[in-house]
Amino acid sequence: MSEIINLTILGGVNKEGADEPIRSVEICSGEIVGIVGPTGSGKSTLIDDIEQLAQGDTPTGRTILVNGQKPDANIRVDPRKKLVAQLSQNMHFLADMTVEEFLQMHARSRGKDEGLVSRVIELANTLTGEPIAPHHHLTALSGGQSRSLMTADIAVISDSPVVLIDEVENAGIKKQEALQLLAGEGKIVVVVTHDPVLALMSSRRIVIRNGGMVDIITTSQEEQDVCCKISEVDNWLMSLRETIRRGDIVEQVA
């Protein structure tokens, strides 16, 4: 369903109320953009501004334009028309219902077919260890299971042209697979991250300091080469982790 769109972030103010140095960022379909910066610097706040398509009405005073224009009020709030899917830092569900009931209700709220529920669970189970079943209670899922379910839910039910991801690496799930699943075809992906692989997989990264956007770095060829190398290391680490999880013995140094 991903229609071709582009987003423009117009700069607002930092935590001191001074104009942030970056005044405008344009992001096009198919682009992955990273957001980096120290913890507490305001990365999640930028993600939130994009999620609500802020119109100078959030504490940062930023404005988000869609295709160069002010978006309709409807697009901002109605889940059936929403352009933005968000995977936040939350690792747990609080709703007291089964996985199946919850996904059916979410599909309804997004105006989607309730038949998508089994597809979500199937996908989630490719990202996590112990499988999730439809009759499981949401609140009893582990952190990794919850995160996998949230990820699959976004890929299938909240299938939107803009995907915002807040620190997928902390989730105990397969992060590169998760990113691929979420990015789909031709979507705008904005990912908050401290992870070098994910940060360098993006084409550009916005640097946040003290609540403001202070720089935009384009990933250089050299950085892309580094990214390939650390991906290998990362995959090796991941396979070791799997070996240990399975209860097997680690036999050789690659």
Binding site: D57, T58, Q86, M97, S158
Partner: protein, 232 residues
């Protein structure tokens, strides 16, 4: 005078949302005033006073706090007028889900905490179903999917309401709520409640403390739902 009646369960974030909304109203050159009604004790007035606006506390003590709010509405409007305000924000104690202390000519705002789970909107009753604006708080603590499911449930019971997603910590939603207040109705004389308070007048209402059934009189409802009048 714009009258805003803000209700919602304790801890849902009414005061925090109001504090940010007051700042947004003041930026738009409105002159807000606040009456905070509580049952026995409150120190919320200290938080409002820091914003340098007229604040009045009402403690309902032995009276039902929602009945107290309704009974004192005229008095509150007179006080706000005398203070030179053009918006009266009346924050209720928010204990009982049965009473909805909203007059017809006010902006009725129900504040509800998303972390209480998506079945909550079905339990809240007239407090939610007769509100003009439903403010969903603490949405940052749950996933987007859970917020959307919650929103769907609110619209199931109150399809006409405006939903504002607010955050009492960051001030998200305050601007939107302030705009709704600015375009809200002006209070008039002879207002009517949107929903009747509970019907029963029984001996408990007049101070009976004995539990045994034989001591009770009035309009009473049995556990099985049967309602009867017992008395002379």
């Amino acid at each position: 005078m714009k009258l805003v009646v803000l209700a919602g369960t304790p801890g849902s974030g009414k005061t925090s949302v109001l504090l940010h909304t007051i700042k947004a109203l003041m930026r738009n050159e409105k002159r807000p005033s606040v009456v905070k009604v509580d049952c026995l004790w409150t120190d919320d007035d200290q938080r409002f006073k820091r914003l340098d606006i007229p604040v009045h506390v009402g403690l309902a003590k032995d009276m039902c706090p929602d009945h107290f709010t309704i009974y004192n509405t005229e008095e509150m409007l007179r006080w706000a007028e005398a203070e030179g305000a053009d918006v009266l924000l009346s924050e209720t104690a928010g204990l009982c889900l049965r009473c909805a202390p909203y007059p017809d000519e006010c902006l009725a705002v129900c504040v509800i905490d998303v972390t209480t789970g998506p079945n909550t909107p079905l339990k809240v009753g007239p407090l939610l179903t007769t509100a003009d604006v439903v403010v969903m708080t603490k949405g940052d603590l749950v996933s987007q999917a859970e917020r959307e499911v919650f929103r769907e449930r609110v619209l199931e019971v109150n399809p006409e309401c405006n939903i504002v997603e607010a955050n009492g910590l960051t001030g998200k939603g305050a601007f939107e709520l302030a705009e709704l207040i600015r375009s809200g109705p002006d209070a008039v004389d002879d207002m009517l409640l949107r929903y009747n308070p509970p019907l029963a007048i029984c001996s408990l209402c007049t101070g009976e403390t004995r539990v045994a059934r034989k001591h009770h009189m009035g309009v009473l409802r049995n556990l099985d739902g049967f309602m009867e009048y017992k008395g002379e």
